[in-house]
Amino acid sequence: MWIYDKKLEYPVKIKTRNPRMAKYIITQYGGPDGELAASLRYLSQRFSMPTKEAKAILNDIGTEELAHLEIVGTMVHQLTQGVPAEIMEREGLGDYYSDHDHAVYPLSAAGNPFTAAYIQSKGDPIADLYEDLAAEQKARATYENLINLADDPDVIDPLRFLREREIVHFQRFGEALRIVQDRLAQKAFYVKKPDFMGK
């Protein structure tokens, strides 16, 4: 279970609204390499992890990604709050405004709504952990693209924090992968055949 903590993991206080930047940043809310996909991926994969280290790291990084989802949603909210319809349209958010007004909705920068097709949960811990390593690198690259598009320090600062977390998560997943590989390489004695054999 989860209990809400009434604070952000990292502060967001954007003084200048910028709907165009919100249109780009929202991709980390509901896009292919975004925080919603990350959280859902890890929290789903944790059920089939074989070691206590791997269960714990997927559980805890999956939880931290929910805090990142909140940071990104907060940025989009603060960048668009109260911006008039004609400015939303001029800055490229006419389509978004039509369906969502100033609400926060999970979609990619190109406007594709969130889909669980962005993630996999394979039941094979090696396959899952390699996906997770790739996911962290893709998210890091996306944050770098967003930092390149931004010019406001109030926006760049939380983006830099989120980028750094992708690097830490990549490191931790790499360690979990090594632990799982070592475990699977250990000599095992079976009282019956493992279920992938003899079919």
């Binding site: 809400y4 009434k6 952000l8 993991e9 206080k13 931790r172």
Partner: protein, 88 residues
């Protein structure tokens, strides 16, 4: 949000983040005795800052005793512009 509240909240955010980061490290290094020592100190400090903040400014989780009316619903929420301390 007044200056003192911002300052105390910001200290708590930093302290909690240190716990989160150390937690992830320990997930994959559960036998690192020195890191567990550091973790325990960080947890103590975060708990102290949290208790102090909640005593002055109300609940951070909906598991804190409340006066009437129910204090949990009080604004601001973290996404509101006037909530967070200024970013670094």
């Amino acid at each position: 949000m007044d200056m003192n509240r911002e300052k105390l909240l910001r200290e708590l955010m930093a302290a909690d983040f240190a716990v989160i980061d150390m937690n992830l490290y320990l997930d994959t290094h559960p036998n690192d005795q020195r890191a567990i020592l550091i973790y325990n100190v960080l947890v103590q400090r975060a708990k102290m800052l949290r208790d102090n903040y909640e005593r002055l400014y109300g609940p951070l989780t909906p598991m804190t005793p409340s006066k009437c009316p129910f204090e949990w619903i009080n604004e601001p929420w973290p996404w509101q512009r006037h909530y967070s301390p200024f970013a670094l």
